[in-house]
Each structure stands twice: as C-alpha cells, then as structure tokens.
C-alpha cells in the first residue's frame, strides 16, 4: 500500500479508530501488527511469509542471545542471527546480480540462471533485515554489559514485540531504519490525548508536499535521463536534469521519511530523523551526517566501529571508510553501479580526511565565506553527478550521459523544461536556506506565521500534485 493513495487514508483512519478505542486498549500492539501485515501484503500477500520468517528468526536468535549464560554461546546465537539476516538479503537481493555477472544478458539465459534472475525483490527487505541485525546485536550488547533499553521477558512476549518492531507499517518498507534500542522502550499503552497534532501536521504536510508536489512533478522532467533520450539533448538540459534529479531524490526520500515520522507519531511512536537538509553540507562527512541519517548511523554503529573505526591508524581508517561505503552502496541496489557510487563516496571521504586540512591551508588567503561556498559547490556537484549512477544503473549509459554533456553544447536548450525544473526545485532550495537562517531574530518572528506556509503547502499538495509514482527507495 502506498502512503499517497486513497486506500491508505481509509486504512489509516480505521487503524487509528481501532487503536485508540478504549475497548481495545489492551490490544493496541496486536492491532498495529495486524494493520502492518495488511499494509505489507496489500499488493503481494505472499510477501508476508518472508516477513513472518524474518520475524521468527530474529526473535528466536535474539532470545537465544538473551538466554545464553556464556559469552561464547551468546556469540554463536548472535552470529547465527546476523548471518540469517544477511543470507536472506543475499538470496533475494543479490542473486540476480551474481547471476547476471556470471551469465550476462538476462534475455539470453534460461534454466537455473533464468530462475535466479527471476527471483523477485521483496519490498522493504533491505530495511527490515537491517532492523533484524540491530535487534540481535543490541541484545548481545546489552548482555555484554552495554547499558541498553531492551527488556526481554518470555519468548512469546519477545516474539510479539519483535513482530511489532519489524513490521510497524510507517517504517516497514523504506525506513527510517529503526534500531532496537531506540524502539523497544517505547512499546507501551498510548493515549489519543497524547498525540502531538501540530508536530504531526508539520511532518505530514511537508512530507506529502515534498513527495507529491516536488518529487512527483520533477520525476516527469527527469524521466528523460534514460537512454537514448538524453543523447540528443543539450548540455544545459542535461545538467539541469541532473540537478532536478538531485532535488527529486531528496524530496522523494525525505518526503517519505517525514510522512513515516508523522504517521508513527499519530500512534505515539517516535522514529529517528532521517534527513537534516543535506544539500547545505560543506564536506562529505557532513553530507553523510545529514543524508539518510538512519542508514549512516546504522553503518557507523554496526559496521564501521566494529571494524575498528579510526582507532587503528590512518591507513586502517581509510580502508574502513572505503569498505563501509562500498557495502553501503551495494545495500542500495543489486547493481555494480551502486557499489561504484558507494565507493566513490568512500573515496571522497578518505580524500577529505587525507587532504582536507592541507587544501584548506592553500586557500587560506580567501575569506571564510568564500571557502565555505567553494566547499559547498564541490560537495554538491560531486554528490549530484554521483546520483547519475542511481538514475542510470547501467554504467555505460552513465558514461554516455557525461559524454553527451560534453558534446551537446551546440544544441538549443529546452527552456520550458529548465524553467519547470527550476520552479520545482525552488521549495527545496528555500527550505535549505531557511534552515540556515532560522535562528536569526527576524526568522524567529516569522515562525509565528508558519501556519501560512503550511496552509500554502497543503493547498499546493491538493491542487498541484504530480502523477503518483512509487517512492524511489522502494526499489532498495
């Protein structure tokens, strides 16, 4: 079920009604689990079997960790849990990539190769598997003495809570990736009177505006970043479309995350913030602290730090950054282009760490704002060009796009397209700028009238939405 559909609105209202009905207050979690299963199985009910399997495996192994008396046993259970999650992910997500790397073009293969290539990618698998890993690791850490907030009782109650944690519908298919220690302690009875309506309204209106007005309209402008359409387009069109795609991917995913946050809040749960205006970043490390925060913090906590982080010398730190970003890239999709995208970011992070200070000294003659601007320009340009690998997972197409950009300077630009890309980018640009100035005195005064802005966003959502498209991150 999609957040931007009529059936979802009905589903949400019915679920909320049942959830807060005093008669059913003892069954609040059961209602949310049931609703989440309906939400997930709406288009493909068979997907529920995989979700149920994943819930059971994670509940079982994490319970095993919790009940084990020795470190060695806990380690075995935790390894089994993490491996099971990775195996499920590898089978469903990466088998086709491996098969295509071995067999080549999918149109020319049959037999086992065709079977492997035909394995469907269950929606949300990357997200709920990472949450499963978080559960197993967090229980392990808790048992090893790290202060934590998980309280595991009987297996039945743990299974029940795990089912809720993994399937909670606002974050089930595209995150934010919730860590077990950030969620379990919130599981308790909720009251209708506790709903923070103004927070919910802000998150939902801004989220739907970003998704339906900005991303869905931009999608029809950036549609042409596809072979062979871009080959005969002007360099200006190509660069503007790429800029538009940077805006689109942000608006699409940040919009989804805000909607997820707002809906979760309606049920009394707080999910982690996933975006913090990433396009104002003046360094790559800052970008990754602002973009898809729940993934970067997951990778930091469950991969980078266990690998040694920056505690084993410079060389090891670069290697760790590289490997984390490579795997982070591959997490996004089963194509080598995603791995290259991640590795490029890993390389940028390593270079920044290696050369950042020295380059800063070279440009020390410039005033600080000019240096900040140049840093911002570099980060935004590299990030935007790297998105090309998201839009064109075929690497040769991405290379041809860049070649066309260089070659097509003589072709006349499509003024309407550029105008529309600029127009739909404007809200995202203004929102980023607003973030920068929001602490100024005049901005604080203006905040008293923010209902006017939310009223305008609501109006534009109703009258100027684009054709509804699936969320980009659904494919991951």
């Amino acid at each position: 079920m999609l957040f931007n559909s009529w059936e979802f609105l009905v589903f949400l209202l019915v679920t909320m009604f049942l959830y807060y009905l005093p008669l059913f207050k003892k069954f609040q979690i059961a209602i949310l689990i049931g609703a989440s299963f309906i939400f997930y199985g709406w288009f493909q009910p068979w997907l529920l079997t995989l979700l149920l399997f994943s819930i059971f495996i994670n509940a079982w192994t994490s319970f095993g960790v919790s009940m084990s008396p020795s470190h060695r046993l806990r380690m075995i259970w935790a390894t089994a849990g993490v491996s099971a999650n990775l195996a499920v992910l590898a089978f469903f997500k990466y088998s086709p990539l491996i098969a295509s790397s071995i067999y080549g073009d999918w149109k020319n293969i049959d037999g086992i190769g065709a079977f492997i290539m035909g394995i469907p990618l269950p929606i949300g698998i990357s997200f709920f598997n990472f949450q499963g890993i978080s559960l197993v690791v967090d229980v392990f850490k808790e048992k090893e003495g790290t202060p934590n907030r998980l309280h595991i009782g009987s297996f039945q109650s743990h299974l029940f809570n795990t089912a809720f944690f993994k399937s909670f519908f606002p974050q089930l298919v595209s995150g934010p990736i919730v860590k077990a220690h950030d969620f379990y302690f919130q599981i308790r009875e909720k009251y209708f009177s506790d709903i923070p309506w103004d927070h919910c309204a802000r998150e939902l209106i801004l989220g739907y505006f970003l998704k339906c007005v900005v991303a869905d309209n931009m999608k029809d402008q950036t549609f042409w970043i596809a072979y062979p359409y871009f080959v005969t387009m002007s360099s200006w069109d190509l660069v503007w479309m790429l800029f538009g795609y940077s805006v689109q991917i942000f608006a699409d995913f940040a919009g989804y995350s805000l909607i997820a946050l707002g809906i979760a809040r309606l049920f009394g749960y707080q999910l982690p913030q996933n975006f913090n205006w990433p396009y104002i970043s003046t360094s790559f490390s800052e970008f990754w602290r602002r973009w898809h925060i729940s993934l970067s913090s997951f990778l930091r906590e469950y991969l980078y730090i266990p690998l040694g982080g920056n505690r084993h010398g410079e060389l090891r730190t670069y290697f760790n950054l590289f490997i984390v970003m490579f795997l982070g890239g591959l997490w996004h999709g089963a194509a080598w282009s995603y791995a290259i995208w991640g590795t490029a970011h890993g390389g940028a992070l390593a270079l920044e760490r290696l050369l950042g200070r020295k380059v800063g000294q070279v440009f020390s003659f410039l005033p600080a704002p000019a240096v900040r601007f140049l840093n911002w320009l570099l980060v935004f340009s590299v990030v935007s060009w790297a998105w090309l690998l998201f839009k064109l997972p075929n690497i040769s197409d991405a290379a041809l796009y860049m070649q066309s950009f260089v070659k097509n300077g003589h072709i006349e630009a499509g003024k309407s397209r550029i105008f529309l890309i600029f127009l739909y980018s404007l809200p995202v640009i203004l929102l980023h700028l607003w973030y920068l100035v929001q602490e100024h005195r005049w901005a604080v005064c203006l905040k008293n009238y923010d209902y006017l802005i939310y009223g305008l966003l609501l109006f534009l959502w109703v009258v100027n939405s684009g054709s509804s498209g699936a969320f980009i991150y659904f494919q991951f």
Partner: protein, 290 residues
C-alpha cells in the same frame, strides 16, 4: 512532548483556514484569467489534460482519434468536423478506447492508429476513473490538471511570450533514425508474444466499440522508409494487415511523400501532419454518411 493543547489545535485550524482562503481565491483568479491551456508540463500531463477534458468537459465529437505519440500532433483544430484527439504519447490506441467506452456521449467514428500496442496504463486509467478522484474532479474543476497553478503559469507565459517555432534538426533526426533502425532489428520472440496478446485486447476493444454503434477506421501513419524495412515494423505491419482485413473495416495507409518530414523517423513535423488531415477528414465524413 505531548502538544495536544489548545494552541496545537488552533495551529491546525489556522492551516485549514489558510488553505480555504487560498482555494477560494485561486478558483476566482483562474476564472478571471481564463488562460487557454494548450500545453502541459510534460508528456504524461498532456495525456491527462486531453483525457480529463474528454471525460469531464464532454466536448461534442463526431470522431475520436485513438493512437500513440505519432498521432498526438493531429490537432483538433486542423479538422473541419468536430474531432477529439485521444492519442497519447508513450501510449497507444488501447489507452483511448476504454475512455471512449466509459463516456456517456459516444462519437460516431473512431480512428485507430495501427502502430505499437502499449497496454493500458492502470495508473493513468485510475487517475480518470477511480473513485473518489473521479467524483471529486467532476465536482471541482480545481482538482483537474488544467487548473494546476504551474500549468496555468506555464500557459500564461506561453501566451505572453510565444515560443519560437521548432525546426527539425536533420542531424538529430538522423541519430534517432539510426537508433530506431538498430533497435527495431533486435526483435525478440517475447516482443512478438506481447504484441499478439495486445492485439487480442484490441480485438475485444473493437468488438465493444462496434457493439455500441461506433464505426471504426484504421489508419497507418507514415514513417521514414528505412524504418519500414526493419524486422519489427515488417512483422507488426503484417500482423496489422491480417487483423484489419479480418475485421472488414476501412483501412487508410497514409502516404509518405517527398515533402514528408519527420523529427526522428517516426514523428511527423507539423506541416506534414497537417497535410494528412484532408485524407482522414474525408474518411470520417464518408463513414458518417454511411
């Protein structure tokens, strides 16, 4: 932090009030300005503009054109008889048929372009037919594509600053022709199967159209002769010939002349499109007289 306080509810009320004021004010403004909507923000919206105009404004049409982007440029104003164009870029004749069949007022004739057969796009159909969207759009023009502020702004700007007439760049056209020749010569069994399946849907659609008293004319748009030699078009045209002769209805193979100019081997430039109008118009009139 629970904020279900009085101020929190007032905040939402203020948002709703702002929304209401904007909705009323904007409705009044677009009525006053009455900007003619001649273009959409993109191909997909242009399709929706056409379809919504047909479904909700119910213009009187003796004939309806069903086709793909090849017929998209056959503008209604080129014809002397009232014609509605439901040819959709990125779509096919299969898209327009259900729209005609679900409308209360039926045309006397439909012209069906024999070209690619892209199956009906469910999302596109849902945007027109699914409830409650259909009833809401029917009740309030504000919710239709033509009322979108950005569409209004774009058309207002085009009215103020008309865009220059686009000329065909021969080099670009040649790039496209080469691309089509190459890709149309890589024609797989799977493509044939899907064409046959879509042809069955077309057969069903024709049956329903004729059962409702609508007469059918098939026509083939001219394309660059080099493309006609490709494996795909040769095979598809053979299939169409069999299909059309079996249906026993009129078929017009629109001619390619020395003056025919295509933008990319497939899509005709505006003057070449206009040149085809008299042929189609004569066929429509002949059918109406029958």
């Amino acid at each position: 932090v629970p904020s279900s306080t009085f101020s929190s509810k007032i905040f939402i009320l203020k948002i709703l009030l702002t929304f209401a004021v904007l909705a009323v004010g904007y409705s009044w403004l677009i009525k006053q300005m009455a900007v003619p909507i001649t273009t959409g923000q993109n191909q997909y919206q242009e399709n929706r503009l056409k379809a919504e105009n047909y479904v909700f404004n119910r213009p009187p049409c003796s004939a309806v054109i069903l086709g793909s982007s090849l017929s998209d440029g056959l503008k209604e104003e080129y014809f002397e008889v009232p014609v509605c164009n439901l040819a959709f870029g990125g779509g096919s004749a299969l898209w327009g048929g259900p729209i005609v069949l679900s409308s209360l007022e039926r045309p006397q004739v439909v012209l069906i372009e024999t070209n690619v057969l892209v199956p009906v796009n469910q999302e596109f159909m849902a945007s027109l037919k699914a409830e409650p969207s259909r009833s809401l759009k029917n009740a309030s023009p504000l919710l239709r594509q033509a009322s979108q502020p950005v569409t209004q702004l774009l058309n207002w700007l085009r009215k103020k600053i008309p865009p220059p007439v686009k000329t065909v760049d021969p080099a670009q056209a040649e790039t496209w022709i080469q691309y089509y020749v190459q890709s149309y010569n890589q024609f797989h069994e799977k493509d044939k199967e899907s064409f046959q399946k879509n042809l069955k849907d077309m057969e069903e659609m024709i049956r329903e159209l004729t059962a409702s008293g609508i007469q059918v004319i098939f026509y083939r748009m001219p394309v660059d002769p080099r493309l006609l030699q490709t494996e795909k078009l040769q095979w598809e045209n053979e299939q169409w010939s069999v299909f059309v002769s079996r249906s026993g209805t009129t078929f017009i193979d629109l001619p390619v002349s020395a003056e025919t100019i295509t933008k990319d081997g497939l899509h005709l430039a505006d003057p070449s499109l206009k040149a085809l109008v008299p042929i189609l118009q004569a066929a429509i009139q002949a059918k109406i007289k029958q």
